[in-house]
Amino acid sequence: MKKILYTIAVCFLVLVSCEKLDSLLDTKNYSKADTSSFPRTEKDAEQLVNSAYSTMHSLYTGSIFKINLFRRMIASDDIYGAGSKSSKETTADDRLLAPSSDEDNSVWKSFYNGLFRCNFALESISEMDDNLFTGDNKTWYLGQVHFMRAFYLWEMAERWETFPLTLSTQVENMPKASVDEVYAAIAADLKDAISMIPAKYGYSKDNNLAGRATKYAAEALMGRVWLFYTGFYKKADMAGVTKSQVISWLEDCANTNVSKFDLEKDQRELWMYSNEYSSGFAYGVDFGTWAHKENLHWVGNHSKETVWGVHFSYTGSGYNRLAEWLGFRNSAQTPNAQSYPYSAGGNGNASVNPLFVKEWYEDKDYGPRDKRFYGTILVTNKSKIAIAYPWYKGDIELPDFKGHDSKEIERTWFYTKKYQAMAAYSDGAKTTLKKNFFNIVNGSISNSAKSGNKNDAIYIRFADVLLMLDELKETTTGMNRLRERAGLDPYESYTFERLQKERRYEFATEGMRFNDLRRWYPETAGQIIEKNQDGGYLEYLGKPNTYKELEGRSFSQRYALTRGFWMIPQEQINLQQGVLEQNEGFKDGQSYLFVDGDLPY
């Protein structure tokens, strides 16, 4: 008996160890490549670089909380909280609270996906033979990835301050890095990007070059990060990067001859509200819109003023959710015809702070003659404006707009135009009203005010490069170019206050203000925002009221705790087993959740 078993066992061992037999089980993955055979060619390398970009699209799906641009917009004193009771994310964001303890989870994962993909691309492309690449493409690819990693790190740093710093694909459970380590990594990546991306690639409309990270984008981002770091942390320089280095990089970027980036002739033509389908220019018909009256023609996506932004494809997936969240609330009470040319398909989260409008309107250096005023602020409902804002004598673009009384909770009747979703007629005879003009531009785009917005999400405009230089060099060159463009007289001399105002109005409701205030006034930004917002007129479910703080959790109190940083998702804290620490202001017992019924109206 033993013998038989023994024989069988030996037979098996012989069989099993037979290489031929074993190879019967070899399988090849036909649906996916794997790391043993990828990347092999230049094309593979290029696709890895593309993934560093494509991860940005995932920042625009899911919760609106994912989009830093939007969060900064709402948290600032430009815009109030929410258009609807159900849009808790926005209300929470406006008051530096969290709508749930894991609202940041998917954005956290998206950012780390981005980092991992950058790290993988950097590691694997570096190892590839130089001869596989055409010309200087290898360094060009690597330089772009360095830029992308710096961009992700910066967005994370301004959001969470610090976090586990993963700069390779070998990741273990690790705690947050120090602030200086994070900024050193960003500085290093940006320096690499500046030195590695060939200078010949500036602004371009060429196929395969449009929208790529350039040396100049890296220089501009360096300026943005450097100003924030040195201002917010009160340092003289950043990881060895000096002010003069930053100035020279920004000057390189501002040099239109090399970078090919430049200002557009009218800032209002940067935004899709000036598209020709909504105004009727496309059909040679006047639809009576403000954009038609002002003779505005949208320059389109990929403007030469967009030094860095997220781009979307007409035929691919991915879209810009800003328009959905800022767009007019869609309901039976707000049909498209009432809001035309703006599309009523959104959530109406963009009530502009009336105190800000008043300040701008009454500023003698600016006022309504500043082209940017009506280029930014959308004024609606004539009768309400007359009652609520007796000081306002300006134009009312949508006098009959009624909104949705039983839903809107912080409505001021002032909306933001930038990023606003646009409706359009598909022909001059007004036969069909499209909820989304992009559907006319390209039929494969959904005719939805929510999922069909393919406009760029702009992170750095050329105007910012000019203003950063003015701020660093205390000059008026850039400011005056912008003022001239806006139809205003030039300033004769530089003052910090003038620079601040110019930034505020140039970038109004573009998500710049929050971080500007934080870097200028790291300790008191909270009090400033609170002061600038409190007491402004608003309507809560149709009833007049004024903007109020939450008791015990006012904006300044929340800012004092959080310093404007956000919550680390609870799930990640759990997953990392006590290695990862929660940010201040979001710890147990710090009452950080915004729940129904918390609003003081």
Partner: protein
Amino acid sequence: MFKQLLKVTSIFMVLSALWGGLEASAQNRAISGQVIDAGKQPVIGAAVLIPGTNTGATTDLDGKFSIQVAPGTQLEVSCIGYATLRVSAAEGMIITLQEDNEMLEETVVIGYGTQKKKLLTGSTINITGDDIQKQNTTNAVGALYSSVPGVNIVQSSGVPGASYNITIRGLGTNGNSSPLIVIDGVAGGNLDDLNPADIEAIDILKDAASAAIYGARAANGVVLVTTRQGKVGEKKATVTFDAYMGFQQPNTNGVHGVTASEYLDLVKRAGLDDYDNIEQTMPVQMDWIRKGLWNGTDWFTESINKNAPTNNLAVGITGGGDAVRYSFSFTKSYSEGTLGAPKPTYYDRTTVRANTDFSILRKNNRDVIKLGENVTVSLTDSRGMSTTGRGSDVSNLLTKTPLLPAWDLDGTLYTYKKQLRDGWDARDNEVNLLEQQCLKESQGKGVRVQGNVYLEVSPIKELKLRTAFGFRANSSFSREYTPEYQLTASTFQEYDSVKQSASVSTNWTWELTANYKKTFATDHTVEALVGTSIEATGWGMSVNGTRSNTKFGTWESANLSSVDGALTSDEHASMGGSNTVPYNNLLSFFGRVNYSYKDKYMFTAIVRADGSCNFAKGHRWGIFPSVSAGWVISSEPWMQSTKQWLSFLKLRGSWGQNGNCRISNFQYTGTISMNGQYDFSYDQVNPVTAAYPDNIPNPNLSWETSEQLAIGFDARFFRSKLGVIFDWYQKDTKDWLVTPPNMGILGASASSINGGAVRNSGVELSFTWNDKVGDLRYSVGLNGSYNKNNVLYINTAEGYLKGQAKIISENVAKLEGYRAEPGMPIGYFLGMASEGIFQNQKQIDDYNAKGYAFMNGYDAAQPGDVIWIDQNKDGVYDENDCVEIGNPHPDFTLGFSISLQWKGIDFSVNGSGAFGQQVMQSYRQFALQDLQSFTNNLVNRYWTGEGSTNSFPRYSSGSHNNFKCNSYNSDIFIQNADYLKIRNITLGFDFKQVFKKIPFQQLRIFVTGQNLFTITGYDGMDPEVGTGSGVDSWSSGIDTGFYPSPKVYMAGVSIKF
């Protein structure tokens, strides 16, 4: 159809009554005698019958009988446990009955062969096809509940056609825990496709030694299914005809939603101000309520499909001569679900099965060369409903606001247009679920073919060589049409759309075995088996497409071609396709040796080696050995004295290992996804592909192994009237294929590792009693099993496996609601424990005086709040205070059956129960979802004043810590879910038993009730909760809205001729 059936049946009944009337009865003299057994003891209750008549007698306490019969007449003497004997009648006769060894000579299927039941050394359960068929279930597994100790069966839901979760001897893995299904020797088959009436027998291999011959995937046990085969000698074909028809009702346990006015009252009591302006947002409906025209929509009750029909028709033919044996059947069954009205769920299955075997060369009553095939083709069509988790269809029905009308006063659907007409604005974007359900039209068919062809050569009597080629092919086709619609302001589609898809997949297996059996020196019997098999995934592909704006705009004419213009001009068009390139999954070699001495001492050894393509070279092969032994004590000469009461006793023991490799392939490599894209073109119409690694590889991944030690005995007492089977086992499953938690900072998904183990240990005991009193034959079966599930270790960084958080509500998010952790059962519920509800202020003050840490602070506490337990007494309620608050696994399971047969009447009842398990239940998401509806069971649970309840808090906003508990899960959602279900009650009458001359072998009519009674303290719909988190297969017992099993009432007929 059924009417005709009834007509035919009634004609048969009349005819058979006539035949019965013709029967003659002859008067004869009384003859008396005695029946004794081999031990010269009287046999009590033996039947002495004149064959073919109803005339007969039963022996008394002394084994004596008296019967009116002419001397010399043939008499048939029978008694349970003895071989039936025919004798000539004579006065004073003494009849000696021999013990019936048939039961012991019975053979059972054991994997690549059969074995005498008596010689089995492992623990297996054998259920005959007749027992399965009698229960009239759509799925054979549904008939096993009451007769399989150690096998826990839970329906995955009450949706018709829903499959069953079968767990053998406790949950052994975090991955796929269902046993391997082997149908006619082909592994990996699908029981759902088989018609229960086609099954000859089901054998369940519970211990490792029995299952070891299937080494690779037998870690969770093996279910062997044998379909009916024609038999040699059945020269005359037997035709069977079975049909039943019935209706079903949902087993809701009384659960329903509240009315609109109750709802408004409840919301007010919970202090939610949202409906302050209800008059303004719902002017027309408030008027309806006041006038008594309408009082809200109970969506769940609306969706009940009243008296859902179920029916089944099966025709079978079996027969066989020396050259060809065949068995053929055709079945059609249809069941509608009890929920989902106005478009209820349903399941429609047509099955055709053909089993044939051809004897090519037959010598000396033995097939030398035999060729055969088993094929089942099934055509299914179904409409389902999602039943798992928050947001499932059932959960939506339970939580939807009652304030939205489903129907207008005129009986038409209350559409969005009507919302606008009435200014209905009570909640944002409320979809009328019934309208939504009516929108979409769809049809889908699945065609599955499974079976095998085999060749058996037996050159000499002792040796049998067999090769078999098994195959499975699945294909499915579907077409869907959605018209343009607007359900709410933001839920709309401005165009109609059509979707079509088709897919095919194939698998095949090929095996080769040699079996040698010989008895040496009369007492030593050796049987050896060696074999090899290969399993492969074959060719497969799928295509699908969607288009919009169809030409005709109707469901009937909608297809991908009925659209104007090119594909590219259709903005909503999409197409997709995939293909499978064939590859080998598993390569195996196996051998088995059985040895027995005088059928008294038995020994079996098995070894199997499996190579799986799921692992990298060097980690592919697993070797799974087993040994087992048995000793028939009752065959020992020194046991003869106990024969009187102990008919049979066998002791058996086994040890063995089995494997599991059911994970997704290619985890050993870092795969690159090409799903991303970005567009660098100025005109934005040229997106380019983006590639990125989407997992972190583990090249060392290998087999999961389960190891089991089992000891048991089989005994029969009192001439086999009483059967007792006892088993003890300890099963360790180790090297679990565990996917460690995916920390966000990894940047890609983690791959599995071998890192976990669980121990299941338990006992199983079953009793059967068969006897006869006069003409009444009866049998009673009772079985129970106890299992303890205990995780041994988990090798991930945190030392346990995380489950899902947010089970009850989005904001109960801080910690997972269940986990697998050493020292605990798999998937135990985790959360904050409570010790009651504050009944009055004094109690609060007392707790305060004792230094109790109030979750919301002392000042905020009110009577009606939960008294949470601060486990570590540190004054804060956090993760450290979360403990085991429930275990979803039953400690005990119980099955029982009673069947009676008297003359032509048969009656049976069976049932099963499970005890000791808990269910996490909430038909409402409290935290942050305050405006969901309430079910009546929930309303009943609230604390409403001193003494009302000590287990559920007062009404308040869901964001109160009573419900949210600092964002931790808590025991207020946990309930005991012990239950005992009467699964089946059947009453039947066989005309053949009474009217012997009718030209049928059987003509039986029956009525059956399934699932009629559930005894439970559980207040939800169905305590047999088949859903877990929906994410981890090792989670169970989570009820956030469950599709309950139906109560079925049916009648049918069963004819054999």
